[in-house]
């Protein structure tokens, strides 16, 4: 019998500091056993429990694409009160840690085939959408989908994640990237403004389109009305919920909202679903 609580050993191959505040790091992990790597099959939007023995576990969205071979990536924000994330940020390349998962449901990419895709994201919630963009832009996948537009905002230019990738995406035709910061600095010549406002300015067409939205609760709250105004039906507004989690497998009770467990029945929900769950109302 497999033990669902036992993390699988991984080696940290690479650590990338993502932002000026140095509290966002991307960890590239490699499974130490080949059979674990083969068994860890995931989809865009899923998460895993990252385990540091002695500190505990944290649920973190998977930032790499399912088509990335030989590694998985997670971008982790360190909070001063975050026991696990603080210890995790102190680990060095070559260290061993643990992963269990993948957990949760995924973005409904099969359902979105042939459609226009709009991605709206703010802050470090961008990680699972980075996974999604990498996947959608992969040469084996891009032709399955129609136009792709991504709006991504951060507090300041230095807080933008995956800067090299953003530049590469901006330079290519497969995706229309709209990058915004709440407030620019001297070197910033790009857009300024909060994500919901920029969304209204860009006004992506809702026709034959799905929108994936991920961000802090306050951004989600102010992003839903403009999306509805643009004509996106609530069933085609796909978002992701966050809750404190322990088990990741729908037992420990922590992430229960209504009759759902965010870890097992989510984290991906449609806005139509969220409107039916009083405790999850945005």
């Amino acid at each position: 019998m497999t033990n669902p609580y036992l993390p699988l050993p991984v080696t940290i191959d690479k650590i990338t500091i993502e932002n000026d505040a140095k509290d966002l790091k991307t960890f590239r992990l490699r499974f130490e056993r080949e059979e674990d790597a083969a068994a860890f099959q995931y989809e865009c939007g899923q998460f895993a429990m990252l385990s540091v023995a002695g500190a505990g576990e944290s649920p973190i969205g998977i930032a790499s694409s399912p088509l990335d071979e030989g590694y998985i990536e997670f971008t982790v924000k360190r909070y001063p009160t975050g026991v696990v994330t603080t210890v995790l940020h102190n680990l060095v390349e070559g260290a061993t840690m643990g992963v269990r998962g993948p957990y949760g449901n995924a973005y409904p990419l099969a359902e979105m085939e042939g459609k226009n895709i709009v991605i709206v994201s703010g802050g470090f919630a961008f990680t699972t959408l980075r996974s999604t963009i990498r996947y959608l832009l992969h040469e084996s996948q891009r032709s399955r989908f129609n136009n792709i537009t991504a709006i991504y905002g951060a507090r300041s230019p230095g807080e933008l994640l995956y800067k090299d990738e953003l530049a590469a995406w901006e330079a290519q035709d497969g995706i229309e990237m709209v990058i915004t910061v709440d407030k620019g600095d001297e070197g910033w010549s790009g857009r300024e403004g909060f994500v919901p406002t920029v969304l209204q300015e860009v006004a992506p067409s809702a026709e034959d389109a799905y929108v994936l939205v991920c961000g802090p609760p306050i951004m989600l709250k102010f992003t839903m009305p403009p999306l509805i105004e643009l004509g996106f039906p609530p069933e085609r507004i796909i978002t992701s919920l966050e809750r404190k989690m322990t088990c990741g497998i729908g037992k420990c009770g922590r992430c229960n909202v209504g009759s759902y467990y965010v870890c097992k029945d989510g984290p991906v929900f449609t806005y139509a679903q969220l409107q039916e769950i009083p405790e999850a109302v945005l």
Partner: protein, 335 residues
């Protein structure tokens, strides 16, 4: 199914025989009540009790247990418990609670291996209730003082004798193994049993919970929750004593480089239960937490697994330090 009677003076003999193959636990008095305790040669059985102060879920889902341990960054899973166990004297409500916990921990998508091993290794002999406590309301939530759900064998207290009735194959095997100590029950014994159960049922005060699940769905924002929240001290006693509450946390402890990953019972009554590292707490008031417990038991689990997660044992009613009574809440929301 197999049946048989035993004189109460021989019960100790039966359990001693069972102890040769399995650890046996039964009702033993302590300074404040009766608890379900592993029996030794010196144990004195206490057969006159309302119920154990603590729920027997502890035998399957302990207060805390080390599920993995290790050093140098890697963890090895704790081997599964293999010890055969006989639990004697569970009340029917508590036995029924195990069938509810099975819906969570034996869910096929993610089996909990520790819970599963303990369930498989354990034989459960319930003792039907002749004299329910005033806080009991099992018949209002689908149970009864002589109900057999979750039991392998049900015992009925006929006075100087116990009448055993096997419910499962496991129970059948248990009675067959101890056949030498049993005598055949008579028709008079059955009549006596029926009367005891009927009398016990008559002592219970029914609570109206019909339609509560549907009504709760529309009462998420009702003022009743904050009213309860103002009284609730958030001690979590109701959840720890509840035989069906199953929330838990996983914690690491480290000493001298050795790490233990511990699974420990936790409670939705505590603000830390849902507090995120960012500082955001989706359940920031005691009223919201009290609502969660009632909603989870009487609405969410009904939607998810088709069961009300309450067996009417009355522990939360008897032990709440501020006299919050789940029966009153149910009657208020059901009205």
């Amino acid at each position: 199914m197999k049946r048989g009677k035993i004189d109460k003076t021989d019960l100790r003999k039966l359990l001693a025989a069972a102890s040769e193959k399995a650890r046996c636990a039964g009702p033993v008095a302590d300074r404040v009540g009766v608890k379900l305790e592993e029996l030794t040669a010196d144990s004195v059985l206490a057969l006159d009790y309302d119920n154990f102060r603590l729920s027997p879920k502890l035998w399957f889902f302990p207060r805390s247990e080390v599920i993995a341990s290790g050093s140098n960054g890697t963890l090895e899973a704790t081997p599964l418990p293999e010890e055969a166990t006989v639990l004697f004297g569970l009340r029917p409500c508590d036995a029924a609670s195990l069938e509810l916990l099975d819906k969570i921990f034996l869910d096929e998508a993610y089996l909990d291996p520790y819970y599963k091993a303990r369930r498989e290794n354990t034989t459960i002999i319930t003792l039907a209730c002749n004299d329910p406590d005033p806080a009991c309301f099992c018949t209002s939530v689908g149970g009864g003082p002589g109900a057999s759900s979750g039991a392998d064998v049900v015992a009925f207290d006929l006075g100087s004798e116990l009448l055993f009735e096997a419910v499962t194959e496991k129970g059948e095997a248990f009675l067959a193994e101890h056949d030498g100590l049993l005598t055949a029950p008579s028709n008079a014994d059955d009549t006596a049993k029926e009367k005891l159960i009927a009398d016990a049922e008559a002592k219970l005060q029914p609570v109206t919970i019909d339609g509560v699940a549907d009504k709760l769905a529309g009462l998420f924002d009702a003022p009743v929750w904050e009213t309860i929240g103002e009284r609730c001290v958030g001690c979590g006693t109701c959840t720890y004593l509840c035989p069906t509450c199953h929330c838990f946390g996983l914690y690491d402890e480290e000493a001298d480089g050795n790490v233990k990953r511990i699974r420990a019972q936790d409670a939705c009554m505590f603000p830390l239960f849902t507090l995120e590292a960012s500082g955001h707490n989706p359940r920031s008031t005691q009223g919201a937490r009290a609502r969660q417990r009632v909603m989870h038991k009487f609405s969410y689990t009904v939607s998810n697994v088709g069961e009300t997660f309450c067996v009417g044992c009355g522990r939360c009613v008897s032990h709440c330090p501020v006299n919050i009574d789940i029966r009153e809440i149910l009657e208020e929301v059901g009205a």
